[in-house]
Symmetry: D2
Amino acid sequence: MKIGRQDERSSAISASNADTILVRGRDLARELIGRVSFTEHFWLLLTGALPSAPQRRVLDATLVAIAEHGMVPSVQAARMTLAAAPEALQGAVAAGLLGCGSVVLGSAEGAGRFFAEIAARTPGAGGLEAAATQRVQEYRSAGRAIPGYGHPLHRGYDPRARRLFEVAEEAGLAGRHVAIARAVETLLPQLTGKALAVNVSGAIPAVLLDAGYPLAALKGVPLLARTAGLVAHLLEEQTRPLGFVMSHAAAEAIDYDGPKPPGFVPEGGDG
Amino acid sequence: MKIGRQDERSSAISASNADTILVRGRDLARELIGRVSFTEHFWLLLTGALPSAPQRRVLDATLVAIAEHGMVPSVQAARMTLAAAPEALQGAVAAGLLGCGSVVLGSAEGAGRFFAEIAARTPGAGGLEAAATQRVQEYRSAGRAIPGYGHPLHRGYDPRARRLFEVAEEAGLAGRHVAIARAVETLLPQLTGKALAVNVSGAIPAVLLDAGYPLAALKGVPLLARTAGLVAHLLEEQTRPLGFVMSHAAAEAIDYDGPKPPGFVPEGGDG
Amino acid sequence: MKIGRQDERSSAISASNADTILVRGRDLARELIGRVSFTEHFWLLLTGALPSAPQRRVLDATLVAIAEHGMVPSVQAARMTLAAAPEALQGAVAAGLLGCGSVVLGSAEGAGRFFAEIAARTPGAGGLEAAATQRVQEYRSAGRAIPGYGHPLHRGYDPRARRLFEVAEEAGLAGRHVAIARAVETLLPQLTGKALAVNVSGAIPAVLLDAGYPLAALKGVPLLARTAGLVAHLLEEQTRPLGFVMSHAAAEAIDYDGPKPPGFVPEGGDG
Amino acid sequence: MKIGRQDERSSAISASNADTILVRGRDLARELIGRVSFTEHFWLLLTGALPSAPQRRVLDATLVAIAEHGMVPSVQAARMTLAAAPEALQGAVAAGLLGCGSVVLGSAEGAGRFFAEIAARTPGAGGLEAAATQRVQEYRSAGRAIPGYGHPLHRGYDPRARRLFEVAEEAGLAGRHVAIARAVETLLPQLTGKALAVNVSGAIPAVLLDAGYPLAALKGVPLLARTAGLVAHLLEEQTRPLGFVMSHAAAEAIDYDGPKPPGFVPEGGDG
C-alpha cells in the first residue's frame, strides 16, 4: 500500500509499516490500545473520530441491547453448525450472522431509513407529525410494513426500546429521530387501526442517528452485537451440546406430505 | 417426521425410515442412485418430476456454461479464505458463494424476472416487441439497468450465450423467453443508444424458463455450478497456493489517503 | 491474466479472451456446453480430463446418493436463514454448507483418508486384512472413531452404501478401496465388539477412490450434492415457510437453567 | 423455553417473557443497558459474571489491538463480496469472518493452547523454563510451528504485542501466561536458531488467560474485533468501491499455464 490522493483506489482506514500501525491516522499501539474502549474504537473505525462520552454511552447501550435474546434462529443455526463442524468456530459464527437479514435483525436498518426519510421532510420541529403521517401512509399504500414497531413476545412494549430512549435522554442526545420514532408510535393506532410499540430495532436507529452514528452502518450494530452473543452460545455449545437436540425437535415438528409408496412409514432422519 | 396433510408444517421433499429414503416420493437407493444423473436428480429435487431428455440437456448446458470463468472475485475470496483457514473447505466454498449476489452471478435471476414480466404481458407472439419495448422503457425511467446484457470482456457477443441459444434450439425447447431475450437485444440500440449483446446471465434464464425450470430457483443454477468451479480451485489451492499471492497484489493496488503523522511511510500489511 | 510457466503464480484451470473461454484447455462454448453433462464437467474441472463413462456413472451415483436426506441440521440452518434474510438466497445456501463439517457430511473425507492409509500399506491384495486390522487398532488406541461406519437411523445397513457398491461393481470400477471398506466392516465386530455397517460417507470415498477421483477433493462431493438439496429446500421455503416453525420447536426443546429473579416465568423468545 | 434443571437440554445464557429479558440472570433493560459497556457485556455473556475493571481493560485492549490491520485477505474477501452482492451486508461480513482460521487470526487460539499446556506442566514458577523448553521441542519434533511468534511485516517486534504486555502489567494482571510467552520468546533463538518476537496472536491469549478469560473462547476475540473492522471497511466500500479494483489486480498477478490452442492469447476475465 502506498500513500496517495483520495480517489477510487484509496482507503482511509489503516496503513502500517514495521514499527507503526495507523488506524484512522492514530498510532494503534501508542494511542489506542489500553486507552480507548472497544466501543470507542468501533466508532473511530467507522467515522474517523473518537466519540464523545455521550455518543459512546448510546452506542454501548444499543450494542448491549441487541447482543442476546435466547435461542433465536441465528443462534440455533450457529449451534447446529458447530455441532456438525466443530473444527471451524468461524463457520458457526458466520452461519449465525447470515440470519441477520432484512426480516429479523437487519430491520434496524430499514427503520433507520424510514426515520431519516421523515426527518428529511421536516424542516423544523413543527411539521414532524405531518411528515410522519404522510410517510406512514405511503408505506401502507405500497403494502410495506412500518419497520421498527411491534414484537411477537414483547407485545405491550419492548423493554429494551423504552430503556434505550431513557439512555438517550440521560445522555442529552435524544433528538429529532427519537421524536419521530415516538410520534409514529402515537400515530399508528389512528393510521393503521393497530397499536404497536417501538421495538428494539426501531429504538436502535432512532437513538444512534440522533447521536450522529452513520445511517449506512446501522446494520453493523446488530451484526457486531450478535457476534458477541453467538460466541457465548458457541462456548456453551462446546460443553453443553444442544445443536443436535434442537435439530431433532425441529425435524419432529415437520411432516412429510409428498408421494409415498404404500406401507411406507417415516422415522425421521439425520443426514 | 410424521406423514401429514399439506399445510405450513409439511415438506414434500424427503422422508426416510431405517430401510428406505424417499426423495420426491422415489426410493433413493432403488430408483435413483445409479439410474439418474446428478442433473436429473437436481431437476427432480426442485420440481418433483424427472426432466425429459431435452430439459436435462438444457439444464446441463446452463450448469456447464456458468461453472467457471477464471480468477473472478468469488474464486479469489474462496482461495484467500482457504489459505487463511485450511481446516474448513466448506468455509472457503461458502465465502465464494456469498459473492453470487445481485450484481455478479445472481443477475440471472433479475434477468429471468425481466423476461417473465414481458412474457406475462404478451398474450400471443404478436405483441412481444411492444411489451419488450414498454418494459425496457419502464426500467430506464426507474433508473434500472437492463439485466442480462453486456459483458466487460465479451463485448461483441458472449460465446456462452450464443451457444446456449443453439442448444435450446437443438433441444427443441427455444420458446417465448428466448424470443424475448433476442428481441430485447435487437431493441436496445434504438431504445438506449447502446448495442449490448445478451450475456450468459441473460441466456441462462431465457433457455431455462422455456424448458420449464422454476423461476424462483433460477439463482440456484449459478450457485450449484459455481460450487463445482470453487471446489476445483480449492483443490488446486492445496497444491498451488495463490490466495496470499493474490491478496498481496490486491493490497498493493490500494493507497492509503487518511491522516498520517509526519514522516510515516507505509509498507503494506498482512494481518 | 497472462500465460506463463508453471510456478506458484499460475493456475491451470481457466483463461479467456473476448471470443473464447478456455476451461482446462477446452473451448467452453464450442467443446463443452451442450456436449458434456454437468457431472462430466465437474470431473474435468477437478482433474483436467473428461471422465470415462464408468467414472461418470460412479460420480453421478455418489452425488445423487448424498444430495438429500430430509430436515437435517444444515437444511434447517439454511431454511431459518432464508426466513430471516430472504434478500440473499446465497447466504442461506452458505449457511447450510457451513454445516458440512468433520462430524456430519465431511466425514466422507476422513473415511477416504482412512481407506487410503490402509491401501498404502497393502502392496498386494493379500495383506489387506492385516493392514486394515492394524489401522483400526491404531485408531482405537488413539481414541478416534472409525470413520464411515454406522448410522443412527439406518442401523442394519445404509441402503445408499449398499447401492453405491453395486453401481461400482456394475461399472467395473470396484477395486481395492471398496475391498478395504468391506473388509473393515467384516473386521469391526471382532476388533471393536460392535457390528457397524458401512454408511454413505464410507461408501462414497471407497467407490470414488477406486474410480480415480482425487482424494483431496472428496469433501467436494457432499458440498456440491448438498447445494442441490439446499436449493430445492429454499425453493420450497419460499412458498411453504418452515424456518420459523422449526426454530420455534427447537427453542421449545431447550430449558433455561441460569439464575433468575424470584417469580420470573419465561415465555420463549424470538429475537 | 421452560426453566429446568441443568442437563443437556438446558442453556444458562438467556430467557425472557413479555416484560423481562434475562441475560445471565440479570435484567437486560433494568440492569445492563446504559449501565455496562459492550465489552463488559461480552465478558458477562461468556462467563456469567461482570469483569473487574482490570479484566475489562485487558479485554478492551485485545479487542482494540486486533480489530484492524489494513487490506488483509479477510477484508478483501468481504469488500469483493459486497461489491458483488450489495443486498446483503451480513454476507460480506460472514465472508470476511470465514478467513479467521487456523493460519491467520485464529492462531490466537493455538497459541493459547500452547501456553496453557506449558502452564499445566509448571507447578511453581520455578519450572517454567524447563516446561517451555520441553513443549517447544515437542512441537518441533512433530513438525509444528510455534504459534504466536514472528510477523512478516513487524519483524523486530510486534508493537501491538509489546503494548498488550504493558497494559496487562498496568492492570496488575500479568501472570504466568505472560511469563511463559516471554520465556518462549527468549528460548526460541537457542532452541530453533531463529529469533522471533511474540506477535499479537501470541500476546492476546497470554494476557487474556492471565485475566481469567476462558481458553475455549479465545477465537471469539479476533472474531468479534474483526467484525468491527469489517463493518468499517464495508461502510467505506459503499462510497469508495475498491472490491473490483482489488480483484482485477489480484487476477492480473496470476498466469494461466494450462493447455491452450495455438494462437490463444488470454485477456483476463471477470465472470
